[in-house]
Structures are given as C-alpha cells and as structure tokens.
C-alpha cells in the first residue's frame, strides 16, 4: 500500500536544509507540491537562488529520505514559477532561525533586532553572506556580527 501524500509531507518535514540544518526543507518553503502520478511519487521543488549550490544536494536528500521510507519510484520536478519568496518560510522556521542566531527575513529589508541580544541598534556590513540567502549584519550594542536571512 502506498503512503498518503500527508505521510510523505511529514517525512519531508524532517529533512534538514543542508546549509542551515536547523531548519527543514518544508520550513524553508521550497517544497511546493507532493503528488502521486500513476505509481510515481512526484515532489515539486523550487530553488531558493538560481545558482544555489545546495540545490542538487537537496534533491539528493529528498530522494535518499524517501527511499529510506521504502519509496522506489520518485520523481523530482523543478518549478521556477512562482519564484521562491521568503514569505513561504514557516513561522516555526523563522523562530528556529532566530534561536540559532540567524535573523529571520523581514519585509522592511533588514533584521528588526539582533538575534543574540534583541537590540534594534543594528547595522549592515554586507548585502551578501556565507550562502546566497544571507547577508551580514552587526549589532552595535553587543557588537556581535550575525547573519540575516535576506528577504526576497
């Protein structure tokens, strides 16, 4: 008997993002659909950034995880449109990011507070950071530099 779509979503919800393992792929909002097409399990994934090197690892991890649950016929579909937006990140994902020390995306275009000391006295160091999805900021009170998850 094949597992339900809900069951597959639950499995996918346990796969950590390879670059920010504190959140899962579903937290990130990049899994757009799970469906059965005939006997194939089709998982639709959208890239965060077109050149994100984690994309192929993410596909591999989805496939490995689902195989681990006994699925054999798995198809991964890339979907570019609608383009990924940080609006699709879950509330749980945002909280986990912040607890981990990465300021979650804000519509205003910058972090609302330092993830370490919660001060709002922060400044931008660079529009880019250690992965395509992050920028570098610094807190002017606790003086700690921190990553900010870019809002796109």
């Amino acid at each position: 008997m094949r597992p339900s779509v809900e069951q597959i979503w639950d499995w996918l919800d346990t796969i950590p993002d390879p670059e920010i393992p504190v959140i899962t792929l579903t937290d990130l909002g990049i899994i757009r659909d799970v469906a059965w097409e005939d006997n194939s399990c089709v998982v639709t994934v959208t890239p965060t950034y077109s050149g994100c090197p984690a994309t192929s690892i993410i596909n591999l991890e989805i496939e490995t995880a689902l195989r681990g649950h006994g699925l054999e016929d798995i198809r991964l579909k890339r979907q570019l449109s609608p383009a990924w937006t940080t609006d699709w990140m879950t509330q749980r994902g945002r909280e986990k990011l912040e607890n981990y020390g990465i300021a979650p995306p804000q519509p205003a275009g910058g972090p609302d507070k330092c993830p370490n000391c919660a001060s709002s006295n922060v400044e931008k160091l660079s529009q880019f950071g250690s992965t395509p999805c992050k920028a570098q900021w610094r807190c002017k009170d606790c003086l700690e530099p921190f990553d900010y998850f870019k809002c796109i």
């Binding site: 077109s50 050149g51 994100c52 250690s130 395509p132």
Partner: protein, 251 residues
Amino acid sequence: MEAKFEALLRLGDNALILGHRVSEWCGHAPVLEEDIALANTALDLLGQTNLWLEYAGEVEGKGRSADDLAFLRDAWDFRNVLLVELPNGDFGQTILRQFLFDAFNLLNLRALTGSSDPRIAEIAEKAAKEAAYHVDRSSGTVIGLGDGTDESHRRMQDALNLLYPYAMELFITDEVDAEMAKAGVIPSPDTLKAEYDALVNGVIAEATLEKPEAHFGHRGAGKTGKMHTEHLGHLLTQMQWLQRAYPGNAW
C-alpha cells in the same frame, strides 16, 4: 541558426562570461565582505547561465547540455556583449561594469517576465529577483566610490569613460532581436533604453561622475559573434581548461 537559440545564447553568454569574470575576484577582493559579495554575485549569474543555456540546448535540439555549450564552444560561437568579457581592471572598474550590466539585466528580465514563451518568462521571474538585489548593491557602491575620495572618484570616472561606450552595445537591435520582438518572445533591446538612461543617469549624477560621449565600441560585434576582443580567448583558456584537457570529466 534559429533566432530563439541565438537569443538564448546571448542571454546565457552574457551571464556566463560576466559570472566568470566576477568569480576571478574570489580570494582577491579588497575586503572580506566584498569578496563574499562578488562571489555571490558570480554564483547568481552562473545559476542564471545554467537556466538559459539548458533551454538553449533544448531549443537547438542537438542534445547539447548547458555544460556542453559553456565549455565546448570556441570564442567565435559566444554571443556575449564585449562589455562583460573585458578584464576586471581595479575594483572600481569591476563594480562600474557590474552596475552598467545589472541595470540592463534587471530591465530586460522584468520585460522578459511577459514573454510569450512560458519557459523564458519563468526563468526571468526567478532571475529578476536576483538582478534587483545586484542593482541595489552595485549602484550603492558606484555612488559610494564615485562620491568618495579624490582617488576613488578619479578611478570611477576613468572606469566610466572606458566602459560606458561598451554598454551601448546592449541596445543594438539586429534581425534576431527584431524576430524575437515580433513574436513577443524577447523585447527589442532599444525599447529598454529610455528606462536604462533614467536609472543610470540618476546613479551617475549621484556618484558625481560625468557620462562620456559614447562614440565607439557599440557596433554589436560581440552579440553577433562577429568579432570579440582578444580577452575572450584568454578567459576561455582558463574557464574551459578542465574540459579541454580531460574531455568528459565529471564529478
């Protein structure tokens, strides 16, 4: 050659060659933050390259992958504008070139989101978000350096004098552009010029720079592949070295 294939090569090759040029800064930028920013910009451009050239290969229908197109063509088969193949020069020159390209790329991609070809529209939708971020950074840095010290101002003005005429190649419209525009696939580049001028003139003014007369370098020799600068060949020897030395090697 089919017009759509040709047009996709132009999109892909601009992103590829500029992406490679920008990646040459990796480990050499003046400060760590700029090093990371340049590498990220290059990464976005290479991602966009992959999407364009993958589709170009499908349209061509000869089984060529994005990698085949990137690594196994010679200089005369490249369709990028001359602007993006020029050597990096100093940091200011690299950033100014980036801004002149980013501004075009953003306007072009936004227009492409309305393409009659859904695949082109969806690639453009993805890439336009990245390009908007690039414009934000490169315009800010051009303003900071142009309206900076005497030394940085002088260097930015020199870079603008050198590069601005090359940027005009982006707006040359030929028969490929005309055919694509007529089919609603890709907007004619000359239709983007007014908006480009408004964006670029504003940033140049804020950077306290003066736009030079653009009287050469814009004959469209790069985008048609008729004649590239000698720099492209040198770039390819490095970019394509692995596949040339070890054909078919993969990891």
